[in-house]
Each structure stands twice: as C-alpha cells, then as structure tokens.
C-alpha cells in the first residue's frame, strides 16, 4: 500500500486498515488514499474513520496497530467505518441515534 494519502487523513500505524479524519469532510469530496482517488459517499466528521482499503465482513478493524472490533458487513475503500458496520469483540456499543447521519453534535 504505497502512494500518497491526503494530509487530512491520519494513519496512526502502518498496520491500520482505517484512517482518522482530522478535519470534517463533506460527502462528494475526493480524497487521496495510498495513491488512489476515492469519492466520499457520506459526510465524515472530525475524529471519525474511513476504510483505507476494501475490508471484507468478518475482518478485524485495525487502528493504532491494534484490533478495535470486527467488520459486520463488507466495507468499501473510503467508506465510513463506524457502529453500522463494526461491532466490538467485548461489549456492544450503545448509541442514541443513527450516528452515520448525526447532525453537528450541538444537541
């Protein structure tokens, strides 16, 4: 996995299959991930994650070089990686609403 990556996407460890968004990015924007241009299909807010490459269902999600859960559905490269397609190997994650489309967190 060589090639350039958008500086707004943070790779915490070489082993990671997700990147952290360091500034909010709108749906429709194009970002460079390991040399490939990828169209964002959803808004990605600061601190959220996108897939660095296609991740099949059942594969571990790796961030900080450590497994942080498992994919519950196939995830395309560049797609939002979150509670809708990842589950914990320990305890289920509690959330109040559909966080994929949550508004700006001003509630």
């Amino acid at each position: 996995m060589n090639g350039e990556t958008d500086p707004r996407l943070l790779r915490l460890s070489d082993a990671d299959n997700v990147l952290v968004v360091t500034t909010s990015l709108p749906a429709g924007a194009t970002v460079l991930v390991d040399g490939a241009h990828i169209l964002l299909r959803s808004d990605l807010r600061l601190g959220h994650k996108l897939a660095r490459r296609a991740i099949p269902a059942g594969e571990k999600i790796v961030k900080y070089g450590a497994p942080i859960g498992v994919a519950t559905a196939p995830i395309e490269a560049g797609a939002h990686v979150h509670v809708h397609n990842v589950r914990s190997d320990y305890t289920p994650t509690y959330h109040l609403e559909d966080v994929r489309t949550a508004a700006e967190g001003r509630s």
Partner: protein, 397 residues
C-alpha cells in the same frame, strides 16, 4: 521548586481547603448551606448519600478528609445514619487537622446547625489562612489523569499529550496515576508488557479481565452515546485512545481507591469493584473516578476531553485538556489547554505535553484552573466493594 502546605503526616498540599462533609443525603442541605457564604474561599462540599454502611465509602471519606490539600473538616450528620462518624472524626483528629462534627438531630435542627457550622468554618478559615507554605519538590507530587466526553480526537491529541506530561513528571520523581480499567479493555497485553515485574503484569491483566467480566454482566461498556457520535466505534477503540494517557514509563504498581502510591512512578488505579456485581456501574460518571484519584492522594487531575466536559472537583484542581479543536473554539472558557491545535499543525505532542507539565506545577504558585475560577466543585461517592491489593501490586521496598 514549588511550594505547598505542610501537614502533620509530612505530606504537602497545593491547596488549603476546608471540606464540609455530609454523612448521609439527609444532611446534604445543611452542609450545602454552611458552605454557601464561603464558596469563594476554598470551602468545598463533599459527602456520602447512603444510609447503609460501606467500608469503601468510609475509607474514601477518611482519605479525602485527610488529603494534603485539605486543612480541616466539618462533618455534618443527621444523627441516625450508619456512617461511622466517630471513626472518621478520630482519623481526621489524629492527622493533626481541626475537625468538628455537627449532629443535626441533637443540635436543634437545620437553622441552628447551619449557624454553628458557619461559625466553625469562619474560625478555622481564618486560622488556615495564616499558614505559610514551604518548599515542595516535584517528587512530593501525585498527579492523576482521567478522560471524559471522549471522541475520535482524544486518543490522537489530548491523551498522548497528557502521556508526555506524565513521562516528564515521572522523570522528575512524581507519582502519576491513570485509571479506569474498564477503558483499557483490549489493551491488557501491551499494558502487562510494561509492568515492572512479571507478577505485576499478571495482576494488571487480571484487573482488566475483571473489568471486562463486570461490564459484560452489566451489558454496557464504559462507553457513552456521545463517544459514538464523536467517532469512537467500540470500547476497544476508546481503550486504545485512553491508554495513551499513560505515556511510556514502566508501570510501577496497581492500586485501588484510597491506596496512596508509596513513591514516584506510574500506577494504574483499578476502579472496578471486586467480587460479584453488587452495586451497579463501577463509576456512574467521570466525577466518581476523579474522587477516587484524589482519594489516592492526587494533588491535581488531568482531564482530557474531546466532546467538551466542563467539570472540576472538590479538593483538587482539575486541568481540562481539550483534544478537539472545534470543541475548544466552542468551550474555550472552560478549557485550560488546547491540545486540538496539534491537528491544525499549531503544536506538537511534545510541546503540549510540556505545557501540561508546566501548568501542573504552576498550580502550586497560585495558578488556578478554569474550573476552579468558575466554581466547579463536583463530587460524588457511591457504594462499592474492594478486596485489598495483592503483594505483587506495589514496588518492592
């Protein structure tokens, strides 16, 4: 060299606070009324709401009322609660601090108890205000850290910056405590590999396994809805970010609430109760964890937040480190350190870590945190059960 208030047990405090402690919820109002006229004069309200006895709560109150930042304690009892007020008063008296117990039922009720309490506080306040400070070395400090209102930025800016500050303070001889074993689930192996001894490594792993079992029984991880909205997906992910607060020093010991680190170094505070699940969630909110860090002797607490917590604490200053640059802009008034600027290329982890270290030590030279200036003195204490720590948990003498 910083300066502190020397207590009879040899420990030094960076604040000279009087605590007014209610010993059951029924005495809470009277205690609060006593504090109100002194709210800007380092008189803090703490207490335990339960009417049934609990060894953990008793030990916590004893530690808190004899904390080095505390110069005196007023105990407010209704009269019929089970809390052992006699023992608490004796512990405070033996520590060389002024102490007084007001029993509302024996004292003519609310009005007379409030008046008597205020008179005692005024007198002790005047006495404590005359106390001079003495030099205090960095190796006499204990600093705790907690994160709350975490989001996807906490683990990449604020928490690792706090970890750098811990590394600096530990190198200077301080004792630093990180906590919430329920937020280290998934990190147990890397944690154990940093232990000073193999036996301690096993204890660390066991403490995380206990937390995982405990939370599995409850059906929820130590994970709030706002964590998910902020981009955190699983407890393991939150854990990896929280783990970064511990910095890079070897882990010297594993302590439980009320245990005071015997010397400098890095300690993990095990906050999850022992035995069967009995009284509910280990810590029902961030302030319960802060109170436990303070009961372990922490002079100050580093609080890293992404979503934007505004809390402080009774007894010890809470330095709020904001991990998220957007949150910082919204809540700058409540934040002491802007760690989110790292994401904007305006600072490095090393620079922010150094800033946090400097902020901590400046607290002993009159610097106040935002939450202190705003009057935040949150406090909560609930029921728990703990067994004593094992022999492998502390560094050898």
């Amino acid at each position: 060299m910083t300066r502190g208030y020397l207590r009879a047990d040899g420990r030094k405090g960076i604040r000279n606070t009087i605590v007014v402690a209610y010993l059951v919820e029924c005495a809470h109002h009277v205690a609060r009324e006593i504090v109100i006229p002194f709210r800007d004069r380092d008189v803090h309200l703490i207490g335990f709401p339960g009417c049934y006895p609990n060894a953990y709560a008793q030990a916590m109150m004893e530690r808190l009322c004899t904390h080095p930042n505390v110069g005196g304690a007023l105990l407010v009892s209704l009269g019929c609660e089970s809390f052992n007020k006699f023992r608490l008063a004796e512990v405070v008296r033996a520590s060389g601090r002024p102490v007084r117990t007001i029993v509302i039922q024996g004292n003519g009720g609310t009005r007379k108890s409030v008046a008597e309490g205020r008179a005692w506080v005024a007198e002790v306040r005047a006495e404590l205000d005359r106390l001079e400070t003495v030099p205090m070395r960095v190796d006499e400090w204990i600093i705790g850290t907690v994160c709350g209102g975490s989001d996807g930025t906490s683990g990449i800016t604020g928490n690792p910056a706090a970890g750098r500050a811990f590394d600096l303070l530990i190198a200077e001889g301080a004792a630093c405590i990180f906590e919430e074993t329920g937020e280290l689930i998934g990190c147990e192996h890397i944690l154990a590999s940093r232990a000073a001894t193999e036996e301690l490594g096993q204890e660390l792993e066991a403490s995380i396994a206990k937390a995982a079992r405990y939370y599995a029984t409850l059906g929820y991880g130590s994970f709030a809805a706002g964590n998910a909205e902020g981009g955190l997906t699983t407890i393991e992910e939150k854990s990896m970010g929280a783990y970064a607060k511990s910095g890079a020093a070897p882990i010297s010991g594993l302590i439980k609430p009320g245990d005071i680190p015997p010397r400098g170094g890095l300690y993990l505070l095990d906050v999850v109760p022992d035995g069967e699940v009995r009284f509910g969630f280990p810590n029902i909110n961030d302030n319960a964890e802060i109170a436990e860090l303070i009961a372990c002797g922490a002079h100050a607490v580093l609080f890293i937040t992404g979503r934007g917590s505004v809390v402080g604490s009774a007894i010890a200053p809470v330095i709020k480190i904001c991990a998220n640059p957007d949150t910082y802009r919204r809540l700058a008034d409540d934040m002491d350190v802007d760690a989110g600027r790292i994401l904007e290329g305006k600072g490095t982890l090393e620079e922010v870590g150094r800033e946090i270290r400097d902020f901590v030590l400046a607290l002993a030279d009159g610097r106040r945190t935002r939450s202190e200036e705003l009057g935040h003195q949150e406090f909560i204490l609930t029921y728990k059960t703990f067994e004593p720590i094992g022999p492998a948990c502390l560094p050898a003498a």
